[in-house]
Symmetry: D2
Subunit: 276 residues, 4 copies
């Protein structure tokens, strides 16, 4: 029709080739959403698990995602450097990922929150970011995990002071102002007999989603899994979750709560940076 010319006002947004593509989504106004739905403070495992469930749905749809990382109300999805998904169109990637995440979040809500009804549908923002080198990508993921650690340490202290020492939020904030990590660790230990490192890895490390090699799943090589389980390496932990994955019928994607800043994880999972 004579109106079709308006199509030409759309702009191309192809992303540079040979770069890692990260899509990061983040809940809009989740401070309020968490309050409204009585999220447990500072970490609500139902909420975190629902986030990861939604991220898994995204990974099932977009096969070129090689690793995902989530914490709090955010998730990052890493597409392999050579991906040609949506012809690398930035808005297609950002919007399809985030809308699938959002609709999965609502879809799966009852499974995690039971009779607690969702009060209103949440929104998430989404962006694409390019990382040219493997080091840049690892630093990106380290940035998010370091952020998880810093926030969790602070929030743990903040809420302990409120919940167990009856401080007001203002007093708790004041108490923590200017403290270093070591101060907070000490506070937890001295005042609450908590060894921070013994808190759940889910809270301290966030969640890493990686793909399980198909063969090991098909083989159902439980013995090997059980063996690895004791090594303490990420690979060992993977094996455990592999087992539960099988039970919960989420084959091929596993959840980890391990350090991804150091070398160990990356040598345990060499395929992530060098996908076939």
């Amino acid at each position: 029709s004579k109106f079709e010319y308006v199509k030409q006002f759309e702009t191309e947004d192809k992303l540079l080739p040979n770069c890692w593509i990260v899509v990061r989504i983040d809940g809009k106004g989740f401070h309020r959403f968490a309050e409204t739905h009585n999220y447990i403070k500072p970490n609500d495992e139902r909420a975190l698990d629902l986030m990861s469930k939604s991220a898994e749905t995204v990974m099932e749809e977009f096969k070129d995602i090689v690793i995902s990382y989530g914490q709090s109300d955010e998730y990052s999805f890493v597409f392999r450097k050579a991906t040609n998904a949506y012809n690398r169109r930035a808005s297609k990637l950002a919007t399809n990922v985030v809308s699938l995440f959002a609709s999965s979040f609502v879809f799966n809500w009852p499974r995690y929150f039971g009779t607690t009804m969702m009060q209103y549908p949440p929104a998430f923002d989404s962006r694409t970011v390019l990382y040219p080198s493997d080091k840049n990508l690892r630093d990106y993921l380290s940035w998010r995990q370091a952020d998880c650690h810093i926030n969790n340490l602070y929030n743990t202290c903040f809420w302990k002071l409120i919940q167990e020492k009856n401080l007001t939020p203002a007093q708790s904030q004041e108490r923590l102002k200017g403290t270093m990590s070591s101060d907070k660790n000490e506070l937890l230990f001295k005042e609450f007999e908590i060894n921070y490192n013994n808190l759940p890895a889910l809270h301290r490390k966030g969640t890493i989603l990686v793909r399980t090699p198909k063969t090991s799943m098909e083989n159902g090589d439980l013995d090997l899994s059980l063996q690895l389980q004791h090594t303490g390496s990420a690979r060992g932990q993977r094996s455990r979750s592999t087992l539960s994955n099988k039970r919960s019928s989420r084959p091929n994607i596993e959840r980890l709560h391990v350090d991804i800043i150091g070398e160990q994880f990356w040598s345990d999972y060499p395929d992530i940076l060098n996908p076939k």
Copy 2:
């Protein structure tokens, strides 16, 4: 932390000022989604209403949207030229709109589909497009409504031939190949005694969402509404839906199924192109 430098790899995507911003969303693979959920062919009013309900949620959240237009599995949202929402950041606008739309779609599904369970969570893509002039914007909306008309006329014929003349899909397609609009109108009239113009406006025109001026709502000026109701202009139709809006507690946004290609609509709703 030493990882924070990676934040600098994000790119600015501010949209040109003084242009209409259109965000168009479109269901991903809705051919399959419609099949899976037994959408009525060619128009499933439950589905179309759910789309509009989701669009209303978006309009309630983003006050700078002055008009929305939907048909099939798509919706377009028009932000006023001077909007400063998200500082005009393209990805923020596209992603917040589409994720809220998607989560609202799932959230409200049961209200429209009753006991028909959603089988899987749907995704939508989203894009921003800029239109510098009012004419460009109107042409954009005309383009979408002309698309609605063309598809609906075709689909109506296509499914009538299948459902009532027992043609196979291939035969029906063959029968319609190369036909003009007038041919299809005639086909409907001669073979099925259908006057295309008497088919539901929802199917032929799609759905326009506009904001009702607050004052008329607060005044509850029903008499005026009833009067207008008989004029046959869009404004009259608006009044009708205003009434039902009140009943359904969706104040301030009304649904229209009128022509937006001609002048009438725009002189009925002068505020859209010149928002206060």
Copy 3:
């Protein structure tokens, strides 16, 4: 060859349709370039004329430029809204314009600077900017001309104080600190018996380049020109320069030094905003 894939790393940069495209170029480090070549302070007419000569070369090459405006070491070129030059590719427009400007600047240097040799070849930066509405475009040009006025008023005072009152640059700067336009006008009048408005229009208004309608040139309609010459409107001034244009064999582009902030200019030259 197997290396051709690298071509795909180039990115599209098509500019939004239906917007005015402004290409503004600006001399790199012209503070130093002016010093090195003993530019007269604060306005060197040789330099300003050479700039305009170079701009005319650009306008002769790019027929879709409808108006240009220059002052100091900068020039702005306005392409008509509907231009399809270089398929509206931003980098093509910005770079072809600026490189032609620069090479023309060096090429024509001797004509304006005679035996003063150019010491080193100058660089210029260049950018494209989009303006959706006529008002935006006029405000852009007004911005540049207001900038010309403000700088010229300041510089005129600054150098008068140095050159005729023997102030040091620091003293002159100090004397002018915090003064308003009216103060500077008064200073010029009281201390130097200069009525600012009587200074050359070239200095106060900068240079506007517009295209002379071909017919009037071909007709050689001198009588009309001479008549108009006395009206005092921009059109009258145009006529004068038309005559000199003919003599200097620069047909079809005329130089004006008139106000472009008010209405007069735009009603004198209606074709600029509505090119055929």
Copy 4:
């Protein structure tokens, strides 16, 4: 002033960090420019040297350029990955480079073309391209050098057939249609007793500009240079040109006409990919 808002219509164009930035310039309509100025066919050494002289001017201004490559009417400039020149703004880089190149081209014309006057000032286009990996960058440069080779082989045959066998351009083109590289080599050898590999390296390889380490220049370590001169490696050739550089007072940048597709060059010049 009230017009300053128009500044906000400018868009940011910062280039992704940690990528090689290539600025490639190319003469506009040099087919005609070469004809007009009677360029020798197919290679005019005056023209090629003037191009390289202009490129050297660019490298003297932009210290973050680590290597440049030129052939025909084009030149590519490679900025180191970590450059912060102009804060990595794409249009600043592309336009400052190209305008300096163009003005240097005109500025230095007489030195190379003597009494042959320039007839009109030339324009050049310019673009930025990002390459994330060293391999991508090398492939880019290989692409340009392979292009030089292919064109030169073709053009050499094409003009020999015209100039020495009196073919018309159309006949010459016909004669070469569908020939492979090997066919053209054979043609040159059989019909003109030319061994293609003995033609000037300038024609076959184009021109590489690299920076000479300052120390060796300051040391004037001629003995070492003379020694290397005989190795046949790129480094040896560099030394020769180092000597002539000294004579021609173009310190620190040297011209090479060597293969940059293979490994040798890159191991001879390790600093290019790993600048300090």
